[in-house]
Amino acid sequence: MKKVRLLSIIALVIAFSVLVSACQPAAEAAPAEEAVAEEAAPAEEVAEEAAPAEALTFGLVTKALNNPFWEMVHEGSLEVAEANNVELLYLAPTKANNLEEQTRLVDDLIAKKVDGIVLVPVDSTGIVPAIERANAAGIPVALANTNAGGGEVVTFSAVENYDAMKMLAEYAVETLGGKGKVIILEGTAGAQTAIDRKAGVDDTLANYPDVEVLASQTADFQRAQGLTVMENLLQAYPEIDAVIACNDEMALGAVEALDAAGRLADTMVFGFDGNNDALKAVSEDRMVATCFQNPQMQGGDAVQALIDYIAGKEVPARIQTTAILVTKDNIADFADKIAAAE
């Protein structure tokens, strides 16, 4: 029995080690080094100390794992990081948009003593102390997509959510001909981007008294939620002219619901983000428009700014990513992204 116990513990250790080392990003880049480090830990330390200037390590922390948008921010960041020989660690809260978990991730990166952090704050106010802790530890922070209310940051690379959403809402009203029955799908209650985009839609529609807002409900920025919320709304309202969703995932969920109910032809769907699936939906006339906010560039610019900052170069405090309204007219420009969705 004692042997069994001992064996199971050994098995656990081996299983754990194999799993962990198989997953370590360093293993891909330098398998030989990894093997050495595994056998003798001090060797790793020596290697780290010997070449501190060359290989920078950045941490990227986004808001969630289940939204392809953040994967695109990661993609863009990774591209710039790899081109500059920077190792990029990607972390995100397992509970989507969870501030407590995101704070933990930033603190862990500080403890790991990374050279820089690219952060997409879940909440602009609540993340401030974590940024201040990074400041205190001397680790530069660059923000992408969502701003923070305080702390010192190298730069903030994003579209202006409020303005971009206004642009989209104006286009929606124009397509509707200035009147109609509209449903708004809001983002996660309390999330900064959700608040900004909702304000953008509300402020636009307020100027058009003939546009009637039937309902404005949250679908948590998620596709599955967009589907169920829309299914319920379809029961309640026999006539819906347009759905304005504050992100593409919810818009795509609404498209599914409308399609299943056979009402997609009567209702125009507008999204925001410009993720690959949504671009494809625009090309297939399932969605009318979305707002491409170039997530790859948002991430990539933030990484580049950190690299420049560490190299002692001047970095602008705000990097404006241009938002592009995507409609049937210019969808051809996004052919490569649509191909990626297939």
Binding site: Q24, A41, E101, V128, G190
Partner: protein, 328 residues
């Protein structure tokens, strides 16, 4: 005095030391060897600060767990407590220490509500606490139209970020809650009844003792821990977000189960704390090694199941030893 032989010592160790301890030691050695940033004072302080929230929740959950109940509302209640305390500080200009008391009262109220549902209405704890979770999230979101409450008084930051005698204040909070939970479970009638509730509730009822009172109190205590955890959480972010605690209930519950209380009537404060530490260190270590999050989830699940299987094996072994002893 009776002499102890090797077998007795082994039985004693297996019985008294939660199995998760060994796995924890193995894990910590592995992380320390793999990355030089894991075993540092900085990271220890980091773990104390970020860990206090989960650990304190675990210590509340384990009490409910010992009575045979399940607690799913504490994450949401913690969010609500945070919102209420931030609200009273911002809108009523209440000093932080009063806001802390308010937070604890809200926690106790919701815990007691759980207890009342479970005890008097016969609702299974799983359903009752899921219901209060919904109520708490709804209220938290409604308080400020889903928005965050920020702009808290400067001094409030000390709770989550300050130190007392060079020790992070969250660590003091862990120690305090740990000692209180230990004393409650081991030295008071409350503890006796909590274990009895999990062991054989019917027998306790037939004995004519007020079983209901202690059952309600067990849930109230878990609510109180949610209120305390909310103080640290809100202070760490210097803002209260309405959905911040969602999902924490599962981590806390997993911690409580890992700590040895997967059977009703079993479990200790030490076990609950170690279970929480286990989850915390696993996540922290994987982050420090730089493992991508999606792989972390798979590793997390694997290790969790392995740990519980191992605990079960040890539990069976101890049971067998006891049976053998009785036969002798």
């Amino acid at each position: 005095m009776k002499e102890f032989n090797g077998k007795q010592i082994r039985q004693f160790v297996l019985e008294k030391v939660p199995t998760v301890t060994w796995i924890l030691i193995v894990m910590m050695v592995y992380f320390s060897v793999s990355n030089s940033n894991f075993l540092t004072l900085d990271n220890a302080a980091n773990l104390c600060r970020q860990g206090a929230i989960l650990l304190i929740l675990c210590l509340g959950v384990i009490v409910v767990k010992i009575t045979g109940g399940i607690e799913l509302s504490n994450g949401a209640v913690m969010s609500l407590c945070g919102m209420v305390m931030a609200w009273v500080m911002v809108n009523l200009n209440l000093p932080p220490f009063l806001a802390i008391i308010v937070s604890m009262i809200v926690g106790i109220l919701f815990g007691t509500l759980n207890g009342v549902f479970v005890t008097f209405m016969g609702i299974p704890s799983f359903v009752a606490t899921l219901g209060t979770q919904g109520i708490a999230v709804g209220l938290a979101l409604g308080m400020n139209n889903g928005n965050v409450i920020g702009g808290l008084p400067e001094g409030f930051s000390a709770i989550g970020n300050g130190t007392l005698l060079n020790i992070p204040i969250p660590l003091w909070a862990i120690i305090l809650v740990f000692v209180v939970t230990s004393v409650l479970l081991n030295k008071t009638p409350f503890g006796v009844y909590v274990y009895a509730l999990g062991g054989n509730e019917e027998a306790l009822k037939l004995s004519g003792k007020p079983a209901w009172l202690y059952k309600v109190l067990a849930y109230s205590y878990s609510g109180l821990t949610a209120g305390i955890a909310a103080c640290i959480l809100t202070s760490r972010n210097m803002a209260a977000q309405p959905t911040v605690g969602l999902g924490m209930e599962f981590e806390a519950f997993a911690g409580a189960v890992l700590g040895g209380s997967y059977i009703a009537g079993k479990g200790t404060a030490l076990g609950g704390a170690l279970g929480g530490i286990f989850i915390l260190i696993l996540r922290n270590g994987l982050n420090i090694l730089g493992i991508p999050t999606y792989l972390q989830l798979a590793i997390f699940g694997t290790v969790l199941i392995t740990a519980i299987v191992l605990s079960t094996l040890v539990e069976r072994r101890v049971q067998k030893m006891r049976d053998e002893e009785r036969e002798e």
